[in-house]
Structures are given as C-alpha cells and as structure tokens.
Amino acid sequence: MGETIVDIHNLNKTYPDGTVALKNISMKAEKGEFIVIIGPSGAGKSTFLRSINRLSEPTSGEILFMGKDIVKAGKKELRTLRRNIGMIFQGFNLVKRLPTVRNVLHGKLGYMSSLKGAFGLFDQDQVEEALGILKRVGLEEQAFKRADELSGGQQQRVAIARAINQSPQLILADEPIASLDPNSSRVVMDYLKKACREEGFTTFVNLHQVDFAKEYADRIIGIKDGEIYFDGSGDDLTDEVIEALYSKEKEAVAG
C-alpha cells in the first residue's frame, strides 16, 4: 500500500441538459484498495465511475492515472489508458451469442493490432490464459458455451474474467450485483474481492446495499448530490451518517 493509483482533482460533470451530476470531486485511491461507493439514487455514482474512463466526458477537472491526465488524453492515448481500466456493468454487457471464452479474450483487444483484433486472431497463449482466468472464477466448464446460456451470476463472473484479462491497474464496477439474487451477489462479490487481492488492482464498486458495502469495503465513499459526503472505513459509517446520506431533506436539485 501507499502507491497512489488514481488522483482526482476538482472533477465536474454537467450534462448537456443542464443537470449538474458531479461537483468538484477530489479524491485519491491507493494501489489494491477495494472502495465501495454508496449514495441515494441520482447522486452521481454512475456518472463518477463513467467519468474516470471517459465513457462519460467530464466537464472539467483532472484525473491522474499512470502519470497521465485521462481528461486530456487524445484518442490513441485514451485507448492505452482504458486497457488498464476494467469495467463491470450491471447488465454484464457480454456479446451474447459468442462463446464465453471469446468474451474473456475481448479483454485483450486493447493490446492488439487493428486487423488481428478485428478478426479475432487470438494466439494459443492468449486462449490458454483466458481459459486459466475462467477457471479462477469457477467457470472452466462453461468456457465453450454461448454467453447467454449462462445464469446472471455466471455471466457477471465472465465479465469479471474479461476485466482481469486486461491486466488492469483499476477496475470500475457499476452496480455489479443489482440484477442478481442474494446468493449469486455474494459469489460475485467474493470473486471480485479475491481478484482484487490476488491481482493487486484498485477497485471502485458502486453498490446500493449498505450491508454489502460494510462487509466488503476497505474504504467507503458516500456520494450525495454530486459531492463526496462521506469518506472512511466501514466502522466510521454509523447509522446516523447513513441516514443523513440517504435523507432527502437538502436535495433541492432533485425531482
């Protein structure tokens, strides 16, 4: 620990329709930290994660990652930065009709030339590596099944495998368990946490469930109305803080 992986300064995001989603967010994350972000609906959690890899363009601010400012990166540089950032989505976002292992191989596209990647010419080593990662998330049996033949929890584990295959420094997971039942949720969170420990990458996870946050997080960040409202350990997150975080009182902007 100790090495800073992401350093965010005064990040702002205003959507074209005028919605102010992020207000001057500044924070640092260290190598290997498992950070859970909580907050009421519409607080800006998704916008925050999506601004980090610029799926959503920040309005202003600085995001330092691997010595570069992501906000200012050109097209090519952004691709290089993005391959070091894995992303996991609520809806899994796998290519449904392709085999599981091919979906995992997609994690390598950021490292491949245009033609090789386009035609899916992955070499033997890459295929073996992908199969190895699938084994680690307990899916070696499903490697050659179509992705949409898997259960939701299994599909999310494929998505985790795809992200691991990027050899990332950072993983962003936007409500990875929101569409799963409690059992699969636990399995997915366990694998994610385990991968974070083994690979040493930093993880940001948006969650709705405060109990899960307390259980898994090294550090919890509470976002409210586009601002960081709380930043601390699970023990610091008292019931009063939780209530204030989720209370609607001062939300003049909402609705």
């Binding site: 290089t80 930065l81 070091n84 976002n93 290519v95 392709l98 990647g117």
Partner: protein, 269 residues
C-alpha cells in the same frame, strides 16, 4: 350529438359515391384514350390463343446458349449481391444513429439510400448500359446499387437495435472502433444480417432474369430473341428455365438460412 353523427355518416356516404363515380369515369376515359375498345380486346384474345398454340410443345433449340445465359444471370445476381452487401454494410455503420460519428452523415447516407431505392433496377440497368455498354457489367452494377438502396436501410435498422452496452464494454477495454464493430456489433446482429443478405440474393436472382431484356446480360435476352422471331415454343422453354432458376434459388437460400441459423446457434465453437 346523434344528429351530427348521422350527418357525418351521410356526408361520408356521399363522398364515397362521388369517388366511385369519378374512378369509373377515369377508367372509361383511359380505355378510350388508350384505344382499348371491346373489339380489340376480343381480337387480342384470338391472337393470344395463337401465341399459346405456338408455345406447345416447348423446344430447346440452342441448349448451350440458354443454359449459358441462365448461369450468367445467376452470376450477375451473386456478384451484384456481394458488392451490394459489402458496400451496404460499411455505409450502414455510418448511417446507424447509435454508431454514426455525426448525425449529418447518418442523415445524408439514409437519404442517399432512400433515393437509390426509389429508382427501379431496370432504370439503373439502362443508365449503366449507357455508361459502360451492353453485357453483364451494367447488370451487376444495377443490382449492386439497387441492393444498396434496400440493404443500407435494413442493416442500419438492425444495427440500431443492438445492445449498446456491448459497445461500451469493448470500448472501455481499450478496443478500437474496428474491433468493436467486428467483435461486438457484427456477432450481435449476425442473424439479421444473414437473413437480409440471403433475402436480397433471392430478389436479385429474380431481377437478373429480367435485366437481360434491356441488354444487361443473362437469360432475359434469350426470351426477347425468341419472342422477336415469333418462336413461342422457344420462349416458353426459356420461361421454364427462368422459373426453375428462381425456384431453386428460393429453395437454396431457404436452406442456407436454416444452416446459418443452426451454425450461429452453435456459435463459433
């Protein structure tokens, strides 16, 4: 309330009668103007009987020519379809609202396709005959461009329906635009792509039989030749060959569609 409703119905009735009368008047007027009078119709029935009589039994005088022409028709259809499919897909990527780099470009390509679609294949064939001369080349070009008119539209619609989450997932992994399209987008719309392409091949085989009539290569020309020499028996034979050609094209494309479906179902194992 009720009264006004009744009045409305009355009014509608009157208007419908008026339309019917006008349509009938126009029909009579057209018959007279085009000189289609009853005695001519009766005469033409005589003539038709004569033509039909001349058709039987159908004969094949120059089998090599006819079958050669049939094969040429099929080649024209296949080449026109392949060119059309490739160009259409590239254009469709820039026309689909969710993938296009700019709204203006998307609109421009869709309008272009709409215009191309509005011009019939035969007209394109005539235009290309003027441009490149007689033979199969104008036929291929005409079918290719006519296919583009339709395929850009249906491909773009299929592209607009794909799950954008897949695009985001691959982009966020650092994939290039080409990677995203080849690895994410195409597999997601493959069955629609194959179905439309085969459907278009089917349509093009029908068209390619007709294109020869204006001199754009293929079997249509054999039909014109036979008719001009009043060899109705030969004309019937050529027609039967065309029928066979179109039927087998339909059977084959149906078969390929089924195979493609089961193949993609098993995925690229």
């Amino acid at each position: 309330m009720k009264q006004s409703k009744m009045a409305k119905i009355e009014k509608k009735k009157f208007r419908n009668t008026l339309y019917a009368v006008l349509a009938f008047a126009f029909f009579i007027f057209s018959m007279l103007q085009l000189n289609i009078v009853p005695e001519r119709l009766i005469q033409s029935a005589d003539r038709l009987a004569y033509v039909f009589g001349g058709m039987f039994p159908p004969v094949l005088n120059e089998p090599l020519d006819v079958f050669g022409a049939a094969v040429e028709s099929i080649q024209v259809a296949i080449l026109g379809t392949i060119i059309g499919v490739i160009v259409s897909f590239v254009l469709a990527v820039f026309a689909a609202r969710n993938l296009a780099p700019s709204k203006t470009l998307s609109f421009a390509i869709k309008s272009f396709a709409g215009f191309v679609r509005a011009v019939p294949a035969l007209i394109w064939a005539l235009l290309f005959i003027v441009a490149v001369g007689l033979g199969p080349t104008p036929g291929i070009l005409a079918l290719a461009i006519n296919s583009i008119g339709m395929l850009v539209k249906v491909y773009a619609e299929a592209l607009e329906e794909i799950d954008m989450g897949v695009v985001e997932a691959l982009e966020s992994a650092g994939a290039s635009k080409l990677h995203v399209i080849m690895q994410g987008v195409i597999p997601s719309m493959l069955s629609a792509f194959i179905a439309w392409s085969l459907f278009r091949l089917d349509v093009n085989i029908r068209y390619s039989a007709i294109l020869g009539v204006v001199g754009a290569g293929g079997i249509g020309w054999e039909l014109v030749k036979a008719a001009q020499m009043s060899r109705y028996d030969e004309a019937l034979m050529v027609t039967m060959v065309i029928f066979l050609m179109v039927m087998s094209a339909e059977v084959i494309s149906e078969f390929m569609k089924k195979r493609a479906n089961s193949a993609t179902a098993q995925a690229v194992k």
